[in-house]
């Protein structure tokens, strides 16, 4: 760690000029570049995720669980290219969830709590992408790649896809609760306490989606008001809020181990403060 420490003692001038120039400056001089890399990965990942699931593949809002087999086959035919291209993009970028989870784990490491919180979250969420998303992408890719497959099997792939996506609950449930407890007992003021309760809301949505395994229509089905709409609204709000709060955490980061200092109102990171923090 010695080289990083000495290098940032050099005076930091505020970056100006073109975007490329600013990025290059941060790459060379910003002591928080690793944190910003993870944060920007998070922003880009959720944009791509939204674009692929809502626009390209039309898998969100989800098609109906009560459709007859011919309608399901027609859905695959209507979305053939969107599914195959969209999930190809997901297979390319899903690894960006690793920096997202790493940054959230880091937020817990910055707290006054045991490391086991950060590690549990990291493990739970590293596990989550496979049942929570990739299995669906695989099943729908297999479903779309052979339109002439036996319709009954296409229907089975459809159920497999949407149930694995909606019905993978535990990893997110326990993961959110771990983050919640860490925030509640933290003394370093990394996050406001109200955000802990937003974690609880997110955890509760994982409870209310469980009837999707039982109901084929109505509010509890995988496209229903409770199992999908409420769930998605809470998830979007939760994600937007934590992206914003993590940005605040990085701006406030002083690389110490005590309470995280506040930013003065309207103050962007003060270069001299950064240099001091780096020493």
């Amino acid at each position: 760690m010695s080289a990083a420490a000495t290098e940032t003692v050099t005076p930091l001038e505020p970056p100006s000029g073109s975007l490329l120039h600013r990025v290059a400056w941060h790459w060379r001089h910003n002591p928080k570049r690793e944190l910003w890399f993870a944060w920007w990965s998070m922003v880009v990942f959720y944009q791509v995720f939204g674009l692929v699931f809502f626009v390209l593949t039309r898998t969100q809002p989800p098609p109906k669980p009560w459709w007859e087999v011919p309608r399901v086959v027609q859905w695959f035919n209507d979305n053939h290219h969107g599914l195959l291209i969209g999930f190809g993009i997901m297979f390319l970028v899903t690894g960006m969830t690793a920096p997202c989870n790493a940054l959230i784990a880091y937020s817990m490491r910055r707290m006054s709590v045991s490391r086991s919180f950060a590690y549990s979250y990291l493990l739970l969420y590293s596990l989550s992408a496979i049942p929570g998303m990739l299995l669906m992408c695989i099943a729908l890719t297999v479903g779309a790649m052979r339109p002439d497959r036996d319709p009954e099997l296409i229907s089975w792939l459809y159920d497999f896809a949407f149930l694995s996506f909606v019905g993978t609950m535990g990893v997110f449930l326990i993961g959110s609760l771990v983050w919640m407890v860490a925030i509640l007992i933290d003394k370093n003021r990394v996050f406001p306490k109200w955000f802990a309760y937003l974690n609880l809301c997110n955890a509760l949505t994982e409870v209310v989606v469980s009837p999707a395994w039982i109901f084929k229509s109505g509010v509890f089905a995988w496209d229903g008001v409770i199992a999908w709409w409420i769930n998605m609204v809470v998830f979007v709000v939760y994600t937007g809020v934590f992206i914003y709060l993590l940005r605040g955490m990085i701006l406030r980061e002083d690389f110490g181990s005590g309470p995280l200092p506040d930013l003065a109102p309207n103050e962007e990171p003060d270069p001299s403060g950064l240099a001091r923090a780096a020493q």
């Binding site: 890399f37 993870a38 899903t94 695989i138 297999v142």
Partner: protein
Amino acid sequence: MRRADGELILLWTLPALGIIWISAFFLFPGFIQPMSPTMSAEEVAAFYRDPANLSRIRYSMILFNWFCVGLVPILTLIVMQIRRMAHRTPILSYCMLGCATGGPTLFLIANLFWLLAAFRPERDPELIQMFNDLAWVTFTSQVPYLIAQSVILALAIYLDRQSRPVFKPWVAHFNLLVAAALAPAAFIGLALGGPMAWDGLFPFWVKNIAIALWIIVMGIVLGQAIQRQRVEEGVAA
């Protein structure tokens, strides 16, 4: 015993693992000349029902089931090297840890589908074909963690700014090249024939050769890094 000695023991599992993987690869009759996605359901079923193939499919996949996760200890050695780099936060080693089980777990899922298809080959050919499709699509398209692993490692090396960096910069360039070579495999759903199909040039040959090359190169540079660490620890002790 120095800490690096234990790491060397883990690293020396790599040649053994390599031999097992290569044997399993050649034992599986669907790899040497990769099965084509254009095969009809009856042809796929006949492939699994052929007594000459069936036992080879089962034995090779049982071997992979045991040993496909064998790379995890090697990946954790990379995590340990990232921790030695001149970084300010543990973020990049956390990223690497997050990726470490992704690749092997996804391969394990493909492995399950192959074994399922081979368990009752007398099943309806349409079902055999579906399990075979699930296996091949999972095996071929599931590159997300391998790509992320290479990109993150490259980034970690570029940010390792010290007079004697843990890995030389060419290792980072090499990792970016490997990530690029893996990318086309993500799009195999789009073509059942040609160079972009799951048995084609890019998703099969380029991707698998890139993975093999990555394992060999990383094995060597890891060995050198651990060796150097061992000498430094010896001096310090």
